[in-house]
């Protein structure tokens, strides 16, 4: 048999089959999934809202600490360079 005819025959036969869709309870199932999705989305938003103040306090704390930490004096920096100690240079310049 010619493969072209064979293929057309197969397509013709397959077209006869129709899908019996299950519409029973579709809306209920869909609504349940939509609510679940919404809850998930809301719970992520809720968590972000709850932890936001904590991170705000931490950020503020780091800022205050950086502001009040004494800076190394120029004499310290010079001494470190003169001693040729990389660790001291690093600490003094930090």
């Amino acid at each position: 048999m010619n493969p072209d005819d064979q293929l057309n025959g197969l397509f013709r036969a397959a077209r006869q089959e129709v899908y019996e869709s299950r519409t029973l309870g579709l809306e209920t199932r869909l609504l349940a999934r939509m609510r679940e999705e919404r809850r998930k989305r809301e719970s992520v938003g809720w968590l972000a809202w709850r932890v936001a103040p904590f991170f705000a306090v931490v950020t503020l704390g780091v800022g205050v600490w950086a502001f009040f930490t004494p800076q190394p004096s120029p004499a310290d920096q010079l001494a470190a360079v003169e001693l040729d100690a990389p660790a001291l240079v690093y600490l003094a310049l930090r």
Partner: protein, 186 residues
Amino acid sequence: MTAEETEPSDEHLIRATLAGDEAAYARLAGRYHARIARMVWRFAAPHEVEDVIQDILLRSWQKLRQFRGEVPFEHWLSRLALHECYNLLRKRQRTHEDTIEPEAWERMRDTASRPESAEAARELLNLAMQHLNAEERMVITLLELEEHSLHEIAALTGWSEGNVKVRAYRARQKLKTYLEKLNEPR
């Protein structure tokens, strides 16, 4: 009583959905469920059809704000459904393993020469279509099984008509090669 009160339009249901009425969307989805199911069924395995439909309807709900109303909702939803089916085919292509048993091969050969039932024909076509890539499978399914025109397929997939035609030709060639191989004595 007006028609709007008995059967609200798609636009009305979309507006209601966007305003937070989930039941309105469920009603809208119910309208197009059968159409989406017919499409999905051609691409998905029988056991995953309903799950894929649910995923499509859920995705469409999540993306509803992107619907601008430039095309009918049905068309927009069909395009989205087709895109999901395409992703499904591509995913399956990556995990595809051809496992045809010798007895199944004999059965398929009989079906190829004289398909006794639509189900058997579909089974054989599914097997043969495993040798096509996702794009070819999508085009040949829409063209030969769903009987869409080249123009409609181009509009649904976003590919040019020439591109659709080339893919359809390649798909047919590959399917014919597969059938010829099936007809060879083993």
